[in-house]
Amino acid sequence: MPAKRDGEERARVLLVMGEILANLVALTLRHGRYETRATTATREARELVRTWDPQLAIIDVDHHFEFVDLLGRGIAHGEIPLLALTRKRDTAVKLSAFERGVDDIIEVPFTLDEIIARPFALMRRAHGIEVDLIPRINLGGLIVDVARQRAELDGKKLELSPIQQSLLYVLAANAGKTLSRNELVANIWGEDFGIESNVVDRHVRELRVKLGDDWRAPKYIETVARQGYRFRALPESRSN
């Protein structure tokens, strides 16, 4: 990978999706030299296209398909590359998305490396830009290494499964906000996947064990009674 040059521009990525998912994707894209803006309002999206000139758009096509047309139908039409997110296991929907100009698709549930690899490939294909990657980022004192699926806490290395990593990121990306079990299911697995909400509790429990987090006095993940889970520490914006 080419060496990183300081002061170099960041690649601009427009996120068209709900807030929780947008936060997760934005946090994951901190593993590359990207800057992100999120909106689901057509007027704001048009304004951003005019003034901010995004180089890539990631669209939740299950809820915001109309943005595929609004943003110009993808690379084949010489427009902004479009990356679609979908939870639907429906070939016809995907084929029609490709037909309408979507350049690539990420299926929910995704592992975080998809959010890194597919934008990387599209930036390369559409603009010839190789976005520099930042494998390790700091989430409130917790160093996570997406490439090695590992986290580091006080010098101690923790191995995380892909689901644990996604869970950690979605909670950390929405730090300070309580996420319900249903919201966690919807944003990690998608509603179609047949995941019951007690599966969330099991994964949170396993993640806490790995983080050495005590549910009675949590440093990272709090249980909010009858509501869900909340990540306490604020993710820091700098790498390492």
Partner: protein, 258 residues
């Protein structure tokens, strides 16, 4: 000698209508280890393709000249070999351009994915390869490269189990089943290898990836759920047999069932 697949290829006869630019069905070369190779082959029955398989990189290179594939699918974990060497090969079928290639990688493996894109791969499929995702990506890539509209076959039949990829409806006899994406992938994996014992290790490797073994019961749990939905008794199974100490086998009873 390849054993005939348990899948009914009833729609192959419609091939010619769709071949607007290509003469005959699109040829696909699949380079993967056996259980995955068979699963990909069966999944490709959802489109009108002529599928060829290779179990090693060397075999794949040998078959290139003979098959002249329009598209290559390569599992980058092809045992002990460099599957990357199959990416971006030149072929006369694409006007001297490169053969479009889809690589299969394990989930979470960001470096392999990036290396594959750098090597010029056109798309990636992450294991577990959900059948529906595989079909969509192959059809889209054929379209993007050749402008060729692949005739899509929503429903395939495995004995008396009918699987419709568009509606996600699965019927066994006259019962309707709801399968999760992973259960569906498991069904394709076992059914495509009908008659052969697929070990737990092979199932894990094919559906979860080697690094994902957080829970060694995960295979048994999914097989149990799939059996429950198929109303298959483990004592006198109609579909999925347990081979003690070895793994699972989908009963190859095509002749008896039809």
């Amino acid at each position: 000698m390849p054993r005939p697949s348990a899948v009914t290829r009833r729609s192959i006869a419609r091939a010619d209508r769709s071949a607007t630019r290509l003469r005959g069905p699109a040829r696909i070369l699949v380079a993967a280890n056996e259980p995955i190779e068979k699963m990909v082959q069966m999944t490709l029955d959802h489109g009108v393709f002529e599928t060829h398989v290779a179990g090693t990189t060397a075999e794949a290179h040998r078959k290139l000249a003979e098959v002249r594939p329009h598209l290559v699918i390569v599992d980058l974990d092809l045992s002990g070999e460099n599957g990357m060497s199959l990416i971006g090969l030149r072929n006369t079928e694409n006007g001297g351009g490169t053969i479009p290639t889809i690589a299969m990688t394990r989930r979470g493996d960001v470096w392999t994915k990036l290396a594959a894109f750098e090597a010029g791969v056109d798309d990636l499929i992450t294991v577990p390869a959900i059948p529906e995702e595989l079909v969509a990506r192959v059809v889209a890539l054929m379209r993007r490269t050749y402008g060729h509209v692949v005739q899509f076959v929503p429903e395939i039949k495995v004995r008396d189990i009918r699987i419709d990829l568009v509606t996600q409806r699965v019927r066994a006899g006259d019962r309707r089943l709801e399968l999760t994406a992973l259960e569906q992938a498991l069904l394709y994996l076992l059914a495509s290898n009908a008659g052969r014992v697929v070990s737990r290790g092979e199932i894990l490797d094919s559906l979860w990836g080697r690094d994902y073994v957080s829970d060694s019961n995960v295979v048994d749990r999914h097989v149990r759920n799939l059996r429950l939905k198929l109303k298959d008794s483990w004592r006198s199974p109609r579909y999925i047999e347990t081979i003690s100490g070895e793994g699972y086998r989908f009963i190859d009873a095509e002749a008896a069932a039809d």
